[in-house]
Every structure is written in C-alpha cells, then in structure tokens.
C-alpha cells in the first residue's frame, strides 16, 4: 500500500492579537503583541500583570453561545480552518474526525460555578457540563458533522502539537481521511493562579531567550489545522498549504515541572521528528522554539538546539510574546505560524528579546525576515517533561515519511487497582448532601511500597496509576517504553483543592504542589518517572471511551516502531463531583453505583519470551449517529473484525441508563449478522460507573479470552457521542 501522507489544506487561529490567521500575521508584521492587563476575571494579587486575553465577545465573532469559553475558541478556529480548506464534509461521514489538545477544558466556566458554591453556597450544575477537556471536540464534531475518531489530548503545554501528530497517525493508519487537529484553551483562574504559585510569570511580560527573562506570560486562544491524506486532497482539487512530514514525542521522565537540565528529552523529540521525516538536522531552515521565557526552559531548549544542530543553528524565534502562552493551544498556534511562514517565506520574530544571555549563547530572530524556507520545525514542551516536535515542509517537497506497519500487540502484563468491598460515600454540602453506595478502592494497600516523596507529594489518583503500572510489569527490561493513560475527569481532587483554596483566600497562600498534580497528564508523567519511560507520554480523554483513546495511542506507537513496549491504561477517582452530579441526575441506584480505579496493560509488538496473557488485534474510534442505527454499528464493527473469531460482546451497559437500549440493539444485530449467538456480557456491576470503566472491561476481556479461548469484542459508547471498538484474542 502506498504511504498515506498527511498534508495541510486549512488553518484557523484565534488569539489575543487577532481573530484570524491573517489578522494575527498582520499583528506579527506590525510587531504588535496582544498582552494587556487581565479583565476576564478578578485577580486581587496579579490583575495588573499583562496577559494575552482575547478582548472581544466570542459570540459576536459567530461562536455558539452554548458551551464553555474554550469550546467557543476551538469552534471559531475550526470554522476558519474548514472555510480555508473549502472542504465539504458531508461526503466524508465516518472518514472525518477531530482531535484537539486542551489543558483546562471548560475550567473558566466551571470556576464561576465553584466561586458561587464557595462564596454563596449555591449550586448551578449547567456550566460543569462543559468542564471536560473533550467538550470542545464534541461540540465541533456535532456542529460540523464529523463522525470519525474524536478525542482530546491533555498533556499540558505540548497537547496542541501532540494532537496534530496523533491526527496524522490516524490518517496514516487509514482510520480517517480528514482530521481537524489543533488545540484550544481559555484563560482560567486555575492556570493563572497556578503559574503564579510557581513564580513562573514575568510581571513585565515574557522575554524569551533574553538575559533578563523572568518567566512566561499567559494567554488563551485556539488553532486548528485541516489535515488530509494527500490522495484525498488531490482528488478534490484542494490547495495544499504545507506537508506535515515529521513528528516526534518524548518524555524527560525527570520531574513534574522542571525540565531535564541538559535537555535530553527535548533533544530526543527533535531527533525522533527528523528520523520520521527522513531529514538531517541541516535541512531545517527555521525553528519555532517553545521559548516560554522562563529561566529554565529557554536555557535547556538552547542546550538541546546546540546539541542537535552543532555550530549551524538555523534561525529560530519564540512567538510567545505575541499571544502569551496559551498552554494546550500554543503548540497548534505555532504550527499554524509555521505553515504561514512556509507559505509567505517569512520568519516571524521573537519579541521581548533585547540582551543576549551569555549562558544561552544564542540569538533569536528579532525582526520579520524574508528567507528561503523548505522545512521548518516547531517545538512544544510541557509539564511532566512532555515533549512534542512537528516538522512542516513546502507542498513541493517529496516526503519520505515513515509509514506504520499495522499489527497485533501482545499483552504481557496487566495491573489493576480496583474496587474492594462496596462502601458508603458521603456527599458533602453544599453539594446535595446524602449517602451513596459506591465501588471504592479504599486505602491503597501497596502505598507503603512508594517512596517517601511519592507518598507525601502525589495525589491518591496518581498513586493508584503508579501502582497499577508497577503491577503490569513482568520481569525483564522492556526496551524503549511509552506511556498512554486515558482519564475522564483528570485529577479533579487536586484541581478542586487548589481552586477552592485560591478562591476562598483571594489568591493568598497558594498550593504550588497541587497545581502540577492537577494536570491530566500527571498520572502518565509520574508513571514515566517511576519506571524510566522516555518514549511518548500521552494523556487523552473522551468521556466513556477515554481508555480506548489511550489504547489507540499505544497501538499506534507500536505500529510506528516508536516504542518496544507501551503501557496503556486509564485512571479516574471517585470524589464529591461525580457523586454529586450523578445524584442530581438520579443516576445512582441499586443497579448503577459510582466507582473508581486504575488499570494499566503492558503491550509489546514483538512476541515476548513468555506466553502473553492475550492479544489486542483491533482498536477503532468513532462517533455514533442519532438516531442510533444498530445495523450501521454492526457494519462499522464487521469492517474491522471477522465475527467468526468472536463469541462474546462485552459492553458498557448497566451504567448510564440511556445507553442500555443502544447496547442491547447492537448485541441483537450482531448475533443476527453472525448467524450465531454472540453472548452479551457487561462489567460495570463489578467496577461501578465512571468514565474510564471500560479499562476494567478490557481487563475482563483479557480474562474472558484466556478462559474461553475465544475472541472478545469490547464495545463502548460514550454519553458524549463517541464510540470505540477493541478486539481481544487469546
């Protein structure tokens, strides 16, 4: 099969200095940045500090009034990218998807609810519907009619870049022809207070690579690219703006916030991207640096650039002062700037730089410059030492991108931290008070095996993930290891504690330990530190199919030869939030109880020395249509799985009640299509209901496949519109 090369046919961007790609580029040519004092919310201590806040009402720009601020930003960038690509999506159906990075999701809107809750004791559950990082993805998929794979990548500041590379892999693997990919993040009290608590904000605005730099500036915005398989774009006569030829990811596995002092992870990610593109370092004509303006980041990034390029360092710049650091959106914004740089043959400058730093010994481009650009590189580095690098090239180049070799993964180990006995959890006022029967993991028996620092510093949820990952390890060195962990809500307890403290004390006495623990990728990053996993480190989320999004990432890493072993899993914790919301929606009853837990599977591509527990043969992601059509679902399943090889359908039924009839109709249609009885089994009665419960379904599927010697289909529907399929064979 000819390689399916991803090309870019559309770009969209909304940020403080401009609300479209051309407006932003105009601001860049005028050297105007968008930093102004904060007015979006009150900040008693830091309100005077400049920030890249978007000053216009987003609804006036045409964004839907429903959803969160982040959702609206993502929607606006998606609309511009689609208009730019002139694509008619109606013909694509299941072949078009959306994948965005987000670090705080709808936090800005749910914080208003939390402020009311703390200061007035009133509860309004509506804004929290859009709290999740996947909310923007769902809104865009529903509004623009995308039924292909959809998920959010939540790896802090590298999310946007990782979302784009994951979308490229979905296209290469043949799972989609078109992907909207990028990132969206709005300003929020959480990240505002968080970065201030880490003393990482420059009160005068960021000055990347400058000798006097004293931190970052925060910002907000969204950027979306239309990625297409080249053959699809050519067939419809689309104008190709650029190619995505290389991408690479790595993890420092060093510290939750500080980068590796020598930039080892940054260097590894840049090398991986070059390797995938089939390029030598000398081919790179421009680097859009991560360049946040913090003392550590810029110094370490410069070290990595010097190691990679030696004495011939290409022109580079950090464009962070134009927008502020828009966290998960930032990698996508900079990707759009790289595409524009190639199109215009111009290098954007590095505002804020005036005095060279002898410790860095490098000078960025300080004025807009015409240049001959063929290949450009974009760096994004995030909390947890999470690094992602993209390489874009002009459309005329012939790409030499490495193609994946799809295959089967062997499950060599499975670690489960699951519910013990059924317990009773109290919901605390001002949430609706009451008691609920839960599937609770209780005290973690193995927590004593964690180090003193892990016990005092890490949240219970992260500890659960580490213990599950340790249990998944069998003897023997696994080689290059990557980690992909799904989560529905992320580390809510840490985030909520940080925010409650921030709001109730008016930003005094912040909790700097809690902030880096609150990011969605804290479990994956801490697993990497614990086990020394330096490959891709990904956290993804998509409601009930959060686990399967991580499993897809893991399979893709193995197919692409980027790792010898991948830990794929999911974790969610039980706290007052899901308890309270579920009680409001009358979800918890005798049949459906809230649960929690962590599951991590160790997967490898090559046959291990000992007999594997089972094998994963298929993982697919998509969205179902409303009204639900069971025959269409069976078509989707049988396109990937031979029903002769499976005897059991394992579904997420007996959780969210509205999904039960859908599952039952698919089970019946599947048996009819197969011409034999396919047994319908469920798992939520054992582990309880929570977003990543399908990870327990996966563990159950492994067990069933082993005991029965027959194939098991794990089929999951999300209350948010997504669906996933996984086939486990003995």
């Amino acid at each position: 099969m000819a390689p399916r090369l991803p090309v870019i046919t559309g770009v969209g961007l909304v940020a403080a200095p401009g609300y479209s790609v051309s407006e932003v580029w105009h601001a860049i040519t005028m050297n105007e940045n968008g930093l102004k004092p904060l007015s979006l919310f009150s900040s008693p201590r830091y309100g005077h500090i400049p920030v890249g806040q978007i000053q216009i009402d987003l609804v006036k720009l045409g964004a839907p009034s429903r959803g969160s601020r982040t959702d609206r930003l993502g929607w606006l960038a998606a609309r511009e990218a689609l208009l730019c690509s002139q694509i008619n999506l109606t013909g694509f159906g299941d072949r078009a998807g959306v994948l965005l990075g987000s670090s705080v999701g709808g936090s800005f809107d749910s914080e208003r609810f939390l402020t009311q809750l703390i200061k007035k004791g009133k509860m309004r559950p509506r804004p929290t519907r859009f709290h999740e990082c996947a909310s923007a993805v769902d809104l865009i998929a529903d509004d623009f009619g995308l039924f292909g794979p959809s998920m959010a990548v939540a790896t802090a500041c590298s999310s946007g870049a990782l979302a784009i590379s994951t979308a490229a892999e979905l296209i290469q693997a043949g799972e989609a022809d078109v992907m909207l990919a990028g990132g969206a993040d709005s300003l929020s009290r959480m990240t505002w207070g968080g970065f201030h608590s880490l003393l990482l904000v420059d009160p005068g605005g960021c000055r990347p690579f400058d000798a006097g730099r004293a931190g970052m500036s925060l910002g907000e915005g969204a950027a979306v690219l239309v990625l297409e398989a080249e053959e699809t774009a050519r067939r419809r006569g689309a104008k190709i703006l650029a190619r995505l030829v290389g991408w690479g990811a790595s993890c420092d596995a060093h510290h939750s916030t500080a980068p590796h002092p020598e930039g080892a992870g940054a260097l590894a990610a840049m090398r991986a991207a070059l390797r995938r593109a089939g390029l030598e370092p000398g081919a790179i004509d421009y680097v859009n640096a991560h360049g946040t303006g913090t003392r550590d980041n810029d110094l370490v990034e410069a070290k990595a650039l010097k190691q990679l390029f030696g004495l011939r360092i290409p022109p580079f710049s950090s464009t962070k002062r134009f927008f502020g650091h828009a966290l998960a959106a930032s990698g996508a914004m900079e990707a759009v700037l790289c595409v524009e740089a190639l199109r215009r043959q111009e290098i954007p400058p590095n505002p804020g730089f005036s005095a060279p730093d002898p410790a860095i010994g490098l000078q960025p481009v300080t004025e807009l410059q015409r240049a001959r650009l063929t290949h450009v590189m974009s760096n994004s580095f995030g909390f947890g030492g999470n690094n992602a690098v993209l390489i874009f090239s002009t459309p005329e180049t012939t790409a030499d991108t490495v193609s994946p070799k799809p295959g089967i993964a062997a499950i060599t180990g499975l670690g489960v931290i699951g519910p013990g006995a059924i317990t009773i959890r109290q919901i605390e006022p001002p949430l609706p008070a009451g008691k609920v029967l839960t599937h609770d993991c209780g005290p973690l028996a193995e927590a004593a095996s964690l180090s003193a620092n892990q016990r005092r510093r890490l949240s219970r949820m992260v500890q659960m993930a580490i213990l599950a990952a340790r249990r998944s390890q069998t003897s023997g060195r696994p080689g290059r290891m990557a980690v992909a962990i799904g989560t529905g809500f992320g580390c809510l307890d840490e985030g909520a504690a940080f925010l409650e403290n921030l709001i109730s004390k008016d930003e005094r006495e912040p909790m700097p330990t809690r902030f880096p623990n609150s990011v969605h990728n804290a479990p994956a990053a801490q697993i990497a530190i614990d086990l020394g996993a330096h490959g891709l480190n990904c956290a993804s989320t998509a409601g009930e199919i959060s686990f399967e999004t991580a499993l897809w990432q893991a399979m893709s890493q193995l197919s692409n030869g980027e790792a010898d072993c991948v830990l794929a899993g999911a974790v969610d914790e039980l706290n007052n939030y899901p308890l309270g919301i579920g009680q409001r929606w009358r979800l918890w009853d005798e049949q459906t109880r809230p649960g929690e837990g962590a599951v991590v599977a160790s997967l490898s591509r090559s046959e291990p020395a000992s007999i594997p527990l089972a094998r994963v043969t298929v993982v697919r992601l998509g969205r179902y249509r409303r009204p639900f059509d069971a025959q269409r679902e069976v078509d989707w399943i049988t396109a990937a799985v031979d029903l002769k090889t499976v005897n059991i359908l394992l579904s997420g039924a007996k959780g969210w009640p509205a999904l039960d009839p859908l599952y039952n109709s698919v089970a019946a249609a599947l048996s009819a299509r197969a011409g034999k009885a396919i047994e319908h089994q469920t798992y939520k009665q054992a582990c309880g209901e929570f977003y990543s419960a399908s990870a327990f379904g996966f563990a159950a599927a492994v067990d069933l496949a082993r005991r029965s010697g027959r194939g098991v289909l794990l089929y999951t529907l999300s209350s948010r519109g997504g669906k996933a399929l996984c086939c486990v064979q003995p």
Binding site: S197, L198, P203, H255, S256, A452, E509, P510, P512
Partner: protein
C-alpha cells in the same frame, strides 16, 4: 527578634508534609535541597508560601530565596534580616 530554629523546623515539616521525621533530626547546617532532606524546586515554592503565611515575608523571585534555602540556619538568618529591615 531571634527566630527559633526548632519552630522553623516544625513549620518546614508541616508545610512540606515530611513524613517520619522530627525537628531534632534536622541539623541546623545540613543542606535542605539536593542531598540532605532531598527537597526540590516545588518544595522551595511551598517554603515561599510558608514564609508569607507564618512570617509575613513575601518572595516574588525564587532566585531571591535560593541562598536563604540552603539550610535551616541560613533561612532563620534570612527571616531575621527581613524582619528587621
């Protein structure tokens, strides 16, 4: 005013949630970071919060606090100097 090193140690233990350690186990001159107690940059930020809460001293740039965080003795001296200035 003299800062009690025992009181300071108690506050360090509480703010960093140090486990299985008592104030008398921390030497006045032992390094707090790297070796010694093995603290890191996030712990330094917790100490910044503790200094503001318990001693009313505000640190806006972590570089300013770095020499003070060398040991309990240097931290006590830093607090005394800040209070008398």
């Amino acid at each position: 005013m003299q800062v009690s090193s025992n009181e300071l140690k108690t506050r360090i233990i509480a703010s960093l949630k140090l486990q299985d350690i008592t104030p008398d186990q921390i030497e006045d001159d032992a390094p707090l970071f790297g070796t010694g107690l093995g603290l890191d940059s996030i712990d330094a930020l917790e100490l910044v919060v503790m200094l503001e809460k318990d001693y009313g001293i505000q640190i806006k740039d972590i570089e300013e606090g770095r020499p003070a965080f060398a040991s309990v003795r240097t931290l006590a001296a830093f607090i005394e100097a800040k209070r008398s200035s």
